[in-house]
Amino acid sequence: MRWFWVDRFTEFVSGSHAKGIKNVALDEEVLDEYQPGFPYLPSTVIIEGMAQIGGILVAEHFAFDKRVVLAKVGKATFHEVARPGDQLRYTVKMDGIQPDGATVATTSYCGDVLQAEIELMFAFLEPNRIMDGPLFKPGDLRAMLRLMNFFHVAVDRNGDPIPDYANL
């Protein structure tokens, strides 16, 4: 099963913020199986989409050297359901950074309507915690980021392309 809950990065500024798009389509099994007869994108996978963008924002800030995992969902408010045909525009802003974790504040808009507001906290797995070694096989994360247009938009604070990280 594929586990991409954001279709495309549209903006990425290192250490600051990232934006992405999630198109909601009726051919996604999760829509019509979640609430039969009333298809909508489950709130949990909206959180996951935010976590995927936020996780990359945090990981890139630490040069992809940390094993970044979603540790806590703070506030999560859903103002509207996301129906088939909707396009959600996610914005994730870096909120706090510590040597052992980070927080982000996120919003989801459908058109001009605020669809959701979510706060997330990420932690870094210590060596040998849960599993040993990196979370991704060599090349896997790079391939995923390519699929999501990450390298087309990712820039550093000066607007220059981010470094070509060898450890991806």
Partner: protein, 126 residues
Amino acid sequence: MSDDEIFEKVQESLIEALGVDDDEVTPEATLVGDLGAESIDFLDIVFKLEKAFDITIPREELSPEDILTNSQYVLDGVVTADGMAELKRRMPWANLEEFEKSPKVQDFGNLLTVGDLCAYVGSKLS
């Protein structure tokens, strides 16, 4: 900032981080035992206090793990006199009286109270 204002902001941070009710967050309440804080919550609490008070909280100030895992300061799971002195130096805002009577490392995790946290923030602001 007055002590009451500090308490209110600390209380608000703990309510958000731990999902507890305001009447549970008393100055005497211990973060782990009474409020159910787990290790990952401490990171959350640090983020919320930094934001609420516009301060920076170095990890070692609230979690003196380096002392508690240092054989110079711990013998057979018990903090030595030198270790206690180091803890007091590092955490002058914490009430270590009870802990000092039987300073087992395993008991340290449940030491901090809401009042201690307020005193810590107060020391950072002064």
